[in-house]
Amino acid sequence: MPVYKLNINGKVREADVPADTPLLWVLRDELQLPGTKYGCGIAQCGACTVHLNGVAMRSCSLPVSAIQAAAITTIEGLSEKGDHPVQLAWDELDVPQCGYCQAGQIMTAAALLKKNPHPTDEEIGNAMHGNICRCGAYHRIREAVKSASTKI
């Protein structure tokens, strides 16, 4: 098996896995980074969202061999102290219910605001469309994205 050198949360991490292993399982099973969640495995729910060079990506459908030198950010590395404006807004607006989808929601929202710091409701809806929250916390997710956009 090839050894992949991955740039994750600013550190080089090595993973000795088959080439087709999705990044999601490299993070969870190999690198002790279980903050990135498994939901559907087929790029439909967004629970596994990470950043690849700052862009939101579904790690369940991204083979490790395709990553190469790209910089990967996971929820564990979004901020050092859990104080990224999106994370703070999530706490302030008391967004989580069960909480399982929220890492993915936060990563999608953070990538959106990086690209478009002041999105409209419509743009927020479009960007967040790929993230399912089975608990139905969508109202607060949307509010929190808006709130974070005033602080970025």
Binding site: Q44, G99, N131, A137
Partner: protein, 712 residues
């Protein structure tokens, strides 16, 4: 039992560190009667007599050992609020620890919206008992009268002198005292914390991606496994060729037990790939059913029950009432199977050892899970520990324990610690569905449009009783007959958030709307008239509170400006479930020729709201869930197999599709009742009634999105 007591004592001490002093209040969470809480710190024997504890350590840390699993209903936040209120503590210093499963925790489950109502008085008494002995301890130390002292924000204060001592400093002395059985509780007008909006105590861990969930559990040397279960109901394994799967890299073993083929390996990806290489032949082992068969069976059993219908409730003489009616209205409603599909897939860790079994994972019903594992593997319950992780959603799926038992069975076979994981595909074909049900309603009106006769027959597929015979309008109608027919199928079902009422409420509330229209009455007034009748001349037993229902109806009408809006079509619905009352008004406008659901007002009477932020969130989430599933949710079957396998064809509502939700609460100070479920049942009816108002078309089948009004 002795062994268990010892275990519980040990666990407690491990968690509570009261060996270094402090105060321990023992109380029984699960007795049916709410007994007094007792200071239990001094005497080990007394400690053992309780199943729940409130401890105050010498550094002032306050801990509640709660046996209730957390799955997003936010009890980790609401329980400390209740204790802190009575204890006059800084609530941020009150922590909830998830207690290990203990035989004495008889209500160790989350379901039926029961956690808060069950705990309310117990937690208040525990807090008040602690406050009482802390004040006594301070008074003794200062040699003053206890009545000159009061408690505030973690301190006991001597009013005349202003002297104060922190709870931590007083805890050890207080542990030598006793409290009276009937400690005074606060008057609700003095509540400072209860009823306010407080953020979830787990937010920080959730938003930074901490490993809180069962699927996040990893241990060195642990194997991982996925199980191939029969893809179709009514089939069983005929032969298994596992050679290719076994030879696949990273695979440790492939084992067949019962109808399961488990692929065991050392990484998730390895087992996912290897599982695809299994060659399994299945053979018939029962009825193999498709949705067309179900549609026919449900209709047939409504017409001709072959004597299988059971009478659930009968008042007056329905036959005569219908024979003499001025107008008869009849309608049928049908709902499909649904799947729970919580975001975190089913999973459980099990380690069957020589000396006992260790179980770790998400469960809504750990006590029953352990009992089942004990029976299955013939290991006494006191040799089994079960640690509950945070649940990534439940919706009723984790009330079943099939996924716990199979993990234990597999660990026993392979003699290794193993985490068994499900995929979404496993779950969608995995045999725990909200049952499919069809209802037939009939109403008889007299010459002045009064409802004089009412009939409901429900036919469900493995639904048990598909009716709730004592719910409104029962009690308000002179002649009433409610019957149930159950069809037994190999397709297994389970409790789904607000069981039965999640669909029955839609059917009932839509039918009442139809009847109101036929009677030429306003749907809100029609319901109020019926409730007034039930109040004046009740028929049979009435098992809901008429006044509380009237209040939510009137409040919802007022908040939504019922009947006063020109530019929107409104629909009304009200339902009583899990001891709470919720009325909803839905607003619909036409956009490009199709109805668009814009807003839902919800007025809930769940008694005293504990955490306003959590309560609003539960209501909004339940409405999104109720609306989303009414619009899009459907599991259908072809030759015994579910046709939906994952989110690509099982549609879950997404952000852009949600209506605005405006939650309100009735403030009546009644002891709290459930809120995890009650806001869901009324939603489908409010939506369907508003769509009727907007389009003139009745929605009688779910999912709504498949109905004509939504087609181009």
């Amino acid at each position: 039992m002795n062994t268990t007591h010892t275990t519980s004592r040990r666990n407690f001490l491990k968690l509570g560190s009261l060996t270094t002093g402090g105060l321990l209040i023992g109380f029984n969470w699960f007795d049916n009667s709410v007994k007094a809480a007792v200071v239990a710190g001094g005497d080990a024997k007394e400690t053992l007599a309780f199943n729940s504890y409130l401890s105050i350590a010498t550094d002032g840390t306050i801990t509640i050992y709660s046996p209730n699993p957390e799955l997003g209903q936010n009890i980790k936040t609401s329980f400390p609020m209740v204790v802190a209120e009575e204890l006059e503590a800084d609530w941020t210093k009150v922590k909830v620890e998830q207690a290990m499963l203990d035989n004495k925790f008889d209500r160790q489950l989350t379901g039926g919206s029961g956690a808060v109502p069950h705990s309310w008085m117990r937690l208040r008494k525990a807090g008040a008992t602690a406050k009482y002995v802390l004040i006594q301890a301070a008074a003794q130390q200062w040699q003053v009268d206890a009545s000159a002292c009061y408690a505030e924000n973690g301190f006991v204060i001597h009013r005349p002198s202003g002297k104060k001592l922190g709870y931590g400093e007083l805890a050890t002395a207080a542990s030598a005292l006793t409290a009276p059985a009937d400690v005074p509780l606060k008057d609700r007008k003095d509540f400072k914390l209860i009823g306010t909006a407080v953020r979830n105590v787990e937010n920080k861990n959730i938003i930074t991606g901490k490993p809180l969930f069962g699927l996040d559990f990893y241990r060195d040397g642990m194997a991982m496994a996925m199980i191939q279960r029969p893809p179709a109901f009514g089939t069983k394994i005929k032969s298994v060729d596992a050679a290719a799967a076994k030879a696949s890299p990273g695979i440790v073993d492939v084992v067949t037990f019962k109808n399961n083929v488990a692929v065991v390996g050392n990484s998730t990806w390895a087992i996912m790939k290897a599982r695809k290489l299994l060659k399994i032949e299945y053979e018939k082992d029962g009825n193999i059913e498709s949705s067309e068969d179900h549609d026919k069976i449900l209709k047939d059993l409504l017409d001709n029950d072959n004597g299988k219908a059971t009478v659930q409730r009968k008042d007056g003489d329905v036959k005569a009432a219908f024979a003499g009616a001025a107008k008869v209205i009849e309608a049928e409603y049908q709902c499909p199977f649904l799947v729970h599909t919580p975001m975190e897939p089913m999973n459980f860790f099990a380690h069957v050892r020589e000396d006992g079994i260790e179980l770790i994972g998400p469960s809504q019903t750990p006590a029953r899970a352990r009992e089942a594992v004990s029976k299955m593997l013939n290991v006494p319950e006191d040799k089994i520990t079960l640690q509950i992780t945070r649940l990534g959603g439940g919706f009723g799926r984790r009330l079943k324990f099939d996924y716990v038992v199979e993990a234990a069975e597999l660990s026993g076979i392979i003699k290794k610690p193993v985490k068994v994981m499900w995929t979404k595909e496993d779950e969608m074909q995995g045999g725990s569905y909200r049952p499919a049900v069809r209802y037939r309603f009939k109403a008889a009106l007299d010459g002045s449009g009064n409802l004089v006769g009412y009939q409901l027959r429900g036919v469900g597929i493995n639904a048990g009783n598909s009716t709730r015979e004592d719910n409104f309008p029962s009690g308000a109608v002179d002649h009433l007959l409610i019957e149930n027919v159950e069809y037994v199928s190999p397709i297994t079902t389970g409790a789904w958030r607000a069981p039965i009422t999640n669909f029955l409420a839609f059917a009932e509330q839509t039918f009442l709307d139809e009847v109101a229209m036929a009677a030429g009455k306003d749907p809100v007034q029609f319901r109020l008239d019926l409730l007034a009748k039930a109040k004046q001349k009740p028929v049979g037993a009435i098992k809901y509170n008429i006044d509380r229902m009237v209040t939510v109806i009137k409040t919802a009408a007022e908040k939504s400006g019922w009947g006063t809006k020109k530019d929107v079509a409104q629909g009304f619905s009200v339902y009583f479930s899990h001891q709470s009352y919720v009325a909803q008004v839905c607003e619909v406008v036409m956009e490009k020729g199709k109805p668009a659901v814009k807003k839902i007002y919800a007025v809930s009477d769940c008694g005293q709201v504990i955490n306003l932020s959590g309560a609003r969130h539960q209501v909004m989430g339940a409405i999104v869930d109720g609306y989303g599933n009414a619009m899009y949710g459907k599991i259908s079957f072809k030759d015994g197999a579910s046709e939906q396998k994952n989110y690509n064809n099982y549609r879950i509502i997404r952000m852009k599709e949600i209506p605005e939700v405006e939650p309100h609460f009735v403030d009546n100070g009644i002891d709290p009742t459930g809120l995890g479920e009650p806001a869901l049942p009324p939603t489908g009816g409010a939506v369907a009634n508003a769509i009727f108002k907007a389009t003139g078309k009745r929605l009688r089948n779910q999912p709504f999105s498949a109905e004509d009004v939504f087609k181009a």
